[in-house]
Symmetry: C2
Subunit: 315 residues, 2 copies
DNA sequence: ATCTTCAATGTTATCGGTAACAAATTAATC
DNA sequence: GATTAATTTGTTACCGATAACATTGAAGAT
């Protein structure tokens, strides 16, 4: 490996000048800079990040903490990691995957946290390194997420435009911020149209949604659309309606949210919100690295949702 | 952060002695060792891996190269990563996720490679750091995998025991080693029973398998079991048989392979080979770290397959 | 012309460890 | 008991970078 000294010798300057060309180029004359650049190119010089890390007392490690149960893991996370890793690699940082159990083993320069619950706020506040949360939150942490409210707002709007006359929201029975936002999107659309809101909440499993349909089938009038907080629930609703003999999308409409995993195997495909998790992961990484560099708050980064048309709404 | 010097002062020895207690404990008297251990405990000393890496000219980074198309990514890889990360974290290594495009950016101490094809053998051979392949191969690389042959052998055996009289193998149309092994398992079982082998191969998509059933439905006699090389294919076969009016598991049996992803949403659940990818990932990590430490070949690590009973075989 | 001032470059010490060599202590040999 | 060998511990230099301070040299002020 070529080092600073090799470059310095070749360019006939001190190694400090080379270091400065890299880190404070404005403090070096153009003449020397050219010499140094030339030498770096000829020797194919790449700075040794380990040495850098040693003097900076940094680690070049970012921890990705997945706080949700690993059993429920979906490709979602895989895409997230791919996105994060892409950015980090570019900046010569590396990603460490940790869970609740082992998150405090070893040092790092920053955290990306996903699956945060209320109970986690405390210890996250106490972390001494920059943090970015993946998933919206109302505790003031910087975060990256889809605009959840706009998502359900748009889907509700679309359902109405397709002529469904009744809109039932099927939500997740949890106190998390994203759920409130998705409900809010539905509510706003419904209120704008002066309709009666109808909300139901279940654990995020398809069979809960399916049971709900079965148990209430007679009260579910024709021409109803279900705005679901997740693809899982949407699939349950579809299954329930189908088993009860209802016709999708002619008599009933269904929309989901997420569009990562289940949509690949579902039949018919759910009309849902497509999230570009990879892109969001990259954003997460960049957000965090900026934060590390500048030591500044970066604020939230909200991605505008895109509808992915499936076969569960008319047309 | 407490350093070697802090510990050395507290224990009234030179820092070199402390270093030796950690790395060559046999070269230090028990008396001093106790003093040093005591001091380390009191100061809660943890070695600085960055400094270590600098003098050892190592990086403490392991690259996980996923060579398959990211689009086809399944939770499979997520589990793999969790397994690998678990081991690496324990040894204070960190994992870097790379793909074909960016695999040579930045240094590392070793590679774990998955999704290897024949075309990759060349450059993998040329890598200068230790390598472990995830997935069996016949090029002499160390690897970790399920015993693929035993897997299909056992499933075939089970199908016969359940009384199915005809066994059709549905394989993946690719030249990869795992496919050959799965075929071999089926063949061995069939030959032991002096039956006529019947093999078909398709791209690894459920609709190919489904079409196959439709196109050949009249020649598919009752009491046939399909030994499939993947859950995807198995799901296609199930769908095909169901659509043609066949009854599973009464008149037709189906088995898959993998049991990670699709099995969660399939209905009925496929009888398949369950692979503990997390565990295999850990093994991968340990294998590689051993290799880095000893600079030795570690050989293959083959996990014995376990059958996961679903509803696609009788009983 | 001399003294400041400031910008451009070089020197030295440092980050936290380890290897290689030096010194000190103990044990072994004659 | 003196000499040598072996074991244990300490000293120094180094890994590859950067910060802090020192030096040089040219422009501007008096």
């Amino acid at each position: 490996m070529t080092t600073l000294v090799d470059v310095a010798k070749k360019a006939n300057v001190s190694k400090m000048t080379v270091s400065r060309v890299i880190n404070h180029p404005d403090k070096v004359t153009d003449e020397l800079k050219q010499l140094v650049y030339q030498a770096m190119r000829e020797l194919d010089y790449h700075p040794n990040m380990i040495a850098k890390a040693l003097v900076n007392k940094s680690t070049r490690i970012i921890k990705l903490c997945i706080l949700e149960d690993i059993d429920t893991t979906e490709p979602y996370y895989m895409n997230l990691m791919i996105g994060i890793a892409k950015t980090l690699d570019l900046h010569q940082y590396s990603l460490q995957l940790v869970t609740r159990k082992n998150f405090d083993i070893g040092n790092c320069d920053g955290y990306i946290i996903t699956g945060m619950r209320e109970q986690d706020v405390e210890w996250i506040r106490n972390l001494k390194k920059p943090v970015v949360i993946f998933g919206e939150n109302r505790y003031g942490f910087d975060y990256v997420d889809t605009n959840n409210k706009t998502g359900t707002y748009l889907l509700s709007q679309l359902a109405l435009k397709k002529g469904y006359e009744r809109l039932i929201y099927v939500g997740i029975d949890s106190k998390e911020s994203f759920e409130y936002s998705r409900e809010a999107g539905y509510l706003q659309q419904v209120q704008e149209k002066r309709m009666m809101p109808e909300l139901h909440r279940f654990g995020n499993h398809s069979h809960f949604a399916e049971e709900f349909i079965r148990d209430n089938w007679k009260s579910i009038t024709n021409n109803t659309a279900f705005i679901c907080a997740s693809d899982r629930l949407a699939i349950g609703i579809v299954r329930g309606i189908t088993r009860c003999g209802g016709k999708i999308p002619d008599d009933y409409g269904v929309t989901g949210f997420d569009g990562v995993f289940l949509n690949q195997v579902a039949s018919p495909k759910i009309t849902t919100i497509k999230q570009s998790i990879i892109e969001m992961g990259s954003a997460c990484g960049e957000n965090l690295l900026d934060k590390i560099d500048t030591n500044d708050k970066q604020g939230a980064l909200v991605f505008e949702p895109k509808i992915s048309l499936g076969g569960t709404l008319r047309d």
